[in-house]
């Protein structure tokens, strides 16, 4: 099963840049003068990398958040981090005419602001009360959604359309400028979580247990949250909020591998990336006139599958 999925995944990764509205001719990709080469290197190839990195970040972020909050339904999206970034982008669309630089900057700022609020509140809450923090995150999400509604109200038709497109998530990217930040962010994120896998394993028992084994629990949790939120902020500012990846991929990997979460860091990262590449492949090849927004595909595929998983889980008990 594991080998089959690995081979399948690699196949998806290899064929992904070749398929699309216009098929790429393999013989021409190394001929710089051809249209196929231009299409392959400037559009398809960076798009696949961005899809892979975003999916990987979101899936690993989900795994970390689920472990830290000891709740199988948490992701950076439920904590309001992604909503903060989304609001930042929407602000840029309305007040800075959608200039990309401002969109990135404000997304980043929105996510960081959310983390800062969570961080400060968590210090006034009792050190190990992650439940309260989660409630704060949910409250923040609602607050950001309301602010987004105000923005819709204030904006004109064109701006509203841009906001809607952004909130659906999009991988329409040309060139390599946006590839580097997300590639670096995803690799740094993977490395930093991998380095913390031992304390993370202690957290998988209980917070008290980790404390009694000498872990500085609140410090560990905060560093994990900060790292994850930064990676997610980079991801959201580049591709918009793409839901469900962070929620379902860690659960699928757990069912597939049946190992404790700390040993699933690399598989979650890898298959998260593959999942989004595959979803993007569907999005690019189904719509005739233009791409279906990627957020729609992940939710359409992810939603029913997730419900199936929950039903299966409860059947077993």
């Amino acid at each position: 099963m594991k080998y089959v999925s690995l081979i399948l995944s690699l196949a998806v990764l290899i064929i992904a840049p070749f398929l699309g509205e216009i098929a790429v001719n393999i013989q021409e990709i190394f001929n710089p003068a051809s249209a196929s080469s231009m299409l392959f290197w400037e559009i398809r190839f960076p798009r696949v990398i961005i899809a892979f990195c975003s999916g990987a970040i979101l899936a690993l972020a989900g795994l970390v958040f689920q472990s830290v909050f000891r709740n199988p339904l948490t992701t950076p999206f439920t904590l309001g981090v992604a909503s903060g970034a989304t609001l930042g982008s929407a602000l840029a669309i309305v007040f800075f005419g959608g200039i990309l630089f401002w969109q990135y900057l404000l997304s980043f700022f929105g996510a960081l602001l959310t983390v800062a609020v969570l961080f400060l509140l968590s210090r006034s809450l009792k050190s190990a009360q992650t439940g309260s923090l989660l409630l704060v995150g949910i409250a923040l999400s609602f607050f950001y959604s309301a602010a987004l509604m105000v923005l819709y109200y204030l904006s004109d038709f064109e701006q509203s359309y841009s906001i809607v497109r952004f909130t659906m998530g999009s991988l329409n990217i040309i060139g390599f400028e946006t590839v580097y930040p997300i590639l670096i962010a995803s690799l740094l994120f993977l490395a930093s979580i991998h380095l913390q896998r031992k304390p993370l394993r202690l957290l998988l028992t209980s917070l008290d247990f980790a404390f009694l084994k000498g872990v500085h629990v609140s410090r560990l949790i905060m560093s994990l949250l900060l790292l994850t939120s930064l990676a997610v902020a980079v991801c959201v500012s580049v591709v918009g909020p793409i839901g469900f990846v962070g929620l379902i991929v860690p659960h699928i990997i757990k069912l597939l591998y049946r190992r404790s979460s700390d040993t699933l860091i690399l598989p979650t990262f890898f298959y998260g990336g593959i999942f989004l590449v595959a979803c993007d492949l569907v999005a690019r090849n189904l719509g005739a006139a233009s791409d279906i927004p990627i957020g729609v595909v992940t939710s359409f595929l992810g939603g029913p599958f997730f419900i199936y998983l929950i039903v299966q889980r409860n059947k077993g008990k």
Partner: protein, 237 residues
Amino acid sequence: MLHVANLTAQILKNIRFTLREGENLTILGNNGSGKTTLARALCHLLPSQNIFLEGKNMGEIAPHLRSRVINYVPTTLDIYDEYLSVSDYLELNQFESADPRKREEILEALEIEHLKHSPCQNLSSGESSLLLIAGAILHRARYTILDEPTANLDQAKKVKIYRLLKNGSYFQNTIIITHDLNLAYKLGYDVLYLEEGSVRFFGGCGDFFDPSHLEGCFGNAVQNIGGNFVVNYDEVR
């Protein structure tokens, strides 16, 4: 030396006592009298400034050093991850080396070696109790607090744990919380009796189990039958 200096926290009121090196302690008290709260304060899960270890405030000891000194074993096993196995759990209790032979030894001693690869979440409550004790033996802190270790065990396992505690080579200093008066009596540790968050008795085992004193604490709910303390179910009040 573990010293509690006038601890007042949550339900606890003015708790003070000292436990010297080599001394063990049994904490007794009715439900809700503050036994677990006291245990959590001792190991700093409930932060306080009133616990001293060799004269040093517990709050000022670095977490990794504190973990070598004091360990608390709760009554129930709390594991979030559904695939973390018994063997994984035991490994997390090993500080110096992750020697698998030591894990095997403990599992054999407690007769749960067949559960080695089971996920912790699948264990019964009795098996979980045994796993908690096995983990504490591997952790081997200078002071180990066991919170009702025998509450979920069958009779034979209770005897096993009693012998293991009596043996003395598994733990250094033990503090045991229990409702099993017979166990407390047979262990013979000093007794700290809590009542509504205050120390009502602190002293030798013999003094605590003196018939007149015992009746003051438990009425006639407890009977001494041939040197064993048993619950008297016929008692009316």
